[in-house]
């Protein structure tokens, strides 16, 4: 089962990063791959079990469900329900930890999934680079523009 792990340091306090990340319906405001996001059935974006529907920059759509969200731990987990690419059993975890030395943020983003034999490496790279690493860069830009 492929596992993707990416982590970075953001030069901002965790509360500031968490304020952006905790909105399960807010990825269209900062992630370059996400064009439109909305929560199905008009549910609140911090209700566990809610489903977000993304329209990606290339026009394809995917649905993801919020599995866990913690303001105390500054973490959340979600899974993919429907996707145009062959990612199955995809569950991802995001968590923030304070870097007390300099009041910065350690951001850890990881997932596991299954896929067709032969596609593991390509998809793990795609998720790690285009989704996670690109997300890190996008948040950095988003936070610096907000200041």
């Amino acid at each position: 089962m492929p596992r993707v792990v990416k982590s970075t340091i953001i030069d901002a306090p965790t509360d500031q990063v968490w304020a952006v990340l905790r909105d399960f319906n807010g990825h269209d405001r900062w992630h370059p791959e996400v064009a439109v996001s909305h929560i199905e059935r008009s549910q609140s974006a911090d209700r566990i079990g809610c489903v977000r529907r993304f329209k990606l920059a290339d026009g394809s759509e995917l649905r993801e469900q919020l599995l866990a969200l913690s303001d105390l731990e500054q973490s959340f987990s979600y899974c993919l329900l429907d996707t145009p690419i062959p990612l199955f059993n995809y569950v991802a975890h995001v968590r923030l930890l304070p870097v007390t030395d300099g009041d910065r943020t350690f951001w850890h983003w990881e997932s596991r999934f299954t896929t067709r034999p032969g596609d593991e490496k390509r998809l793990a790279e795609m998720v790690g680079e285009q989704i996670y690493q690109a997300g890190f860069e996008a948040i950095r830009k988003h936070l610096s523009e907000a200041q």
């Binding site: 340091i9 930890l97 304070p98 870097v99 007390t100 030395d101 350690f106 690493q133 890190f136």
Partner: protein
């Protein structure tokens, strides 16, 4: 129960930082506050349950017991058996996590303990700001920032 949480970023790959800190008998090699250390009973320093007896540069003597050590998750957990600090039920963990974005390491050092209420603030400051952050500062110097 008092809690201490201190974390930093070391400019080196986590396996290299881990190689420097995993030796339970190796504090004098990297922590500036520790003068000398030995493991009681001639036991190996990575045997769970072994006890280190070390002396600080200020002369204080502390005995600590290794409760957990993982080369896979890169953490080390230990408790204080004897110290002049006036703490009870003291358990601490030093943990390393790779930062994939640049070859860096996120380091966390946490402790929980009981003490008299009027000494809590002073102990949290001296353990967190002194011992833990002092160790991180030494690691940052050793790995060039």
């Amino acid at each position: 129960m008092a809690r201490v949480f201190v974390s930093s970023v070391i400019n080196g790959r986590s396996d290299r930082v881990w190689a420097r800190v995993r030796d339970f008998n190796g504090l004098p090699n990297w922590h500036p506050a520790i003068a000398e250390s030995r493991i009681e009973g001639g036991e190996p320093a990575d045997k769970i349950g072994c006890v280190r007896d070390f002396r600080l540069r200020n002369g204080d003597r502390i005995r600590e017991k290794l409760l957990g050590l993982s080369d896979y998750d890169m953490f080390c957990t230990y408790s204080i058996l004897e110290s002049p600090m006036g703490v009870e039920n003291y358990v601490a963990t030093l943990r390393l996590t790779p930062v994939t974005d640049g070859e860096r390491t996120f380091v966390e050092w946490t402790a929980e303990f009981d003490c008299s209420p009027e000494r809590e603030a002073e102990l949290v400051a001296s353990i967190g700001g002194g011992v833990f952050q002092g160790g991180f500062d030494a690691l940052k110097r050793a790995f060039g920032g």
